[in-house]
Symmetry: C2
Subunit: 374 residues, 2 copies
């Protein structure tokens, strides 16, 4: 517990995460699928460990992390749910993964050989999810190498092929032709795995497909952004944003009409006005490209940030109001009362809300949790 | 020391920092001024402690941090140079500052009273830098309250007024009329301090003014960005960017003409080509707004990043070259061989290089130091 207000505070509502996951899990359950909660990049900036616990309580039965380092950190925190890791360095030693009971993604014969070596070495089975590239062109096995990969995997004595999986490129644009094309390639890849004698699970759907394409749920869905309450297809479900980013007023001051504010003096007061200084800036994750085009929620209403966003501070125009030093300032949150949201920030600067919340994963931003036990 | 390559690595050349500081200090010395190196926001993302030591070796004799928390961390690291802290919360208890021998900025009577209380409580003198707002409209005392502030400060028995200071709004635009206007207001404020019987130091100049306005050096200059080798007025001096941001190839794959890459499939291969996957994305500080408009330095040349920047990865088009897994990929650096720079990123997305390097201050980015002892 800190004794004075943090300069920058990310408050994460774990109740919202539990409810969002419950909604996603029940949509998945309607198709007979389970849910893997994606908690990479420190839980999209929300805190991987706390989000993982809240997601498991909300009904997720699997967890997904991006690298072995992230996955091992979850195990070290005492979380023992099924867990998949998929973006590891070339020379990864999979032994710690196997020892910690972490499933690993395999996209190539070389990777398969490394997992098999760790299996032989540890006497543990290597649980692998074979990844097929169906059109995103990131990792995943190219189609022409797939038949050989499934055959080798089936023949490896130390390896269990738990799943065949892939990832969609444009599920957030429902109806995009790539979705069905990727689904078809996925079906072909799965058929080849069956021909090789395997009987793996299948998983393909991210948040957008979980919410809009029940026919692509298969055995497991992999929502990320939606568990945090940010919805890539807004009309598809009612989710609650889990993160509120806030600071407080450190001082107010009156300036005269004609005075300008912050670097480059881009904003000039048209009349005498009261400014409030808020100690949060681009070093805390407020994009500087929001300069002169963002509002905050202060004293029960929206107020404009005037002048450029600085490294450690922003300036809010309060007109003739005089907020007390210490007054809370919400930079973004649920938006339920009309305040700004991460989505609004993203739309303003031409990015996605994923980047906004993930950007809160910084040492200078204090995180606090509400909403009860994770 | 890590055993396998970090996903995202910020390498900081402390030799460059020492040399940049030496250049700035010698410019300052020509006007009889000393240099305070600004190391707030964890040294603009470079690591406050290491930068502080390198700057002191390079000739700086003061350090500046933004908050008491940052200043105290430097003291805890064993750095005992004169040190100023200036953006503290309303209810800050200045006692730890006084006990640690940290100078504090004072902009109001209320702040002065709190420092005086800590002085009385600890039996130590409160060393204050009185800040006048000369037109930036952030913190700093408004002109109409200044005469009272200097009088109270002069009358406080436990207080030493070490300096009068202010900050410039547009020094990076040499000739901007605000510079001389602020300088005039600064002169007026200083004259009032003298009339109140004080004989303080004066400091006003940031990097840009240090490099372009020797007449504004006064007793102390306060360069930040230039010590890191990024120059707000490029023609004014030859500095060396200290930070190189790099990653490595985790896999390469061949794709056929007509295949597209990454979310939204925004880029399509015109001919068969080799892609390299690099495990660094917007969660590591690569702005997603650089999607489809950034290059990396890979294998001795620039190559384009194709398709959208993802949370944890980017994809590089290598044409018919086949870089080995593990090959270093420089995202930005000195640019001396023709590779990308932080400045280039900033220009592309409409921000300043300050935000780019400060954005590397994240738990997932490993920092390493070169250039010898700080
Ligand atoms: C393999 C994989 N599965 C599932 C998800 C969850 O996606 P969503 O958050 O849209 O539900 C991701 C997220 N990807 C991120 C965002 C990326 O690579 O940029 C992923 O990489
Ligand atoms: C009071 C003060 N002095 C000196 C500096 C150094 O400025 P420069 O980096 O331009 O040399 C800064 C930096 N300000 C930052 C960048 C800000 O408030 O956004 C500052 O706030």
């Amino acid at each position: 517990a800190h004794t004075r207000p943090a300069r920058a505070l990310a408050t994460v509502d774990l109740g919202a995460i539990r409810r969002n996951v419950a909604l996603l899990s029940s949509r998945a359950a309607e198709s007979g699928a389970a849910a893997m909660a994606i908690v990479k990049a420190d839980g999209y900036g929300h805190g991987a460990e706390q989000v993982a616990r809240a997601a498991l309580r909300g009904g997720a039965t699997w967890l997904g992390a991006c690298s072995l380092a992230e996955a091992l950190a979850l195990r070290e925190a005492g979380i023992d749910a099924p867990l998949l890791s998929w973006l590891d360095a070339v020379d990864t030693d999979f032994t710690p993964a196997l020892e910690a009971g972490i499933d690993v993604s395999v996209s190539s014969a070389a990777e398969l050989a490394r997992v098999a070596a760790s299996a032989a070495h540890t006497g543990r089975r290597g649980r692998v999810h074979l990844k097929i590239d169906t059109g995103l062109s990131r990792n995943g096995c190219p189609a022409e190498l797939w038949p050989a990969l499934v055959k080798s995997a089936a023949a490896e004595p130390g390896i269990d092929v738990v799943a065949v999986w892939s990832h969609l490129a444009a599920a957030d644009e429902p109806g995009h032709p790539s979705i069905d094309r990727q689904a078809q390639r996925f079906a072909d890849a799965y058929a080849l795995a069956r021909e090789a004698g395997l009987n793996p699970l299948r998983h393909l759907a991210n948040s957008a497909a979980t919410l809009t394409r029940p026919d692509l749920h298969f055995d497991l869905v992999r929502p990320g952004i939606a568990i945090y309450g940010l919805n890539p297809v807004p009309e598809s479900a009612d989710l609650t944003p889990a993160m509120t980013f806030s600071s407080h007023v450190v001082l107010t001051k009156r300036i005269a009409a004609g005075e300008s504010v912050s670097y480059g003096l881009t904003w000039t007061a048209e009349r005498d006005t009261t400014l409030a200084l808020v100690p949060v800036g681009y070093a805390d994750g407020v994009p500087r490209t929001l300069s002169d085009r963002m509002d905050v929620w202060l004293g029960g209403r929206r107020r404009p940030v005037v002048g450029r966003v600085c490294m450690d501070q922003i300036v809010v125009d309060c007109g003739d109001d005089e907020p007390q030093a210490g007054t809370e300032v919400v930079l973004f949150g649920t938006g339920s009362a009309g305040g700004p949201t991460a989505r609004e920030w993203a739309d303003t600067i031409g990015t996605i809300d994923y980047e906004i919340v993930t950007g809160m994963y910084r040492p200078r931003v204090l995180r606090e949790y509400t909403g009860g036990e994770p």
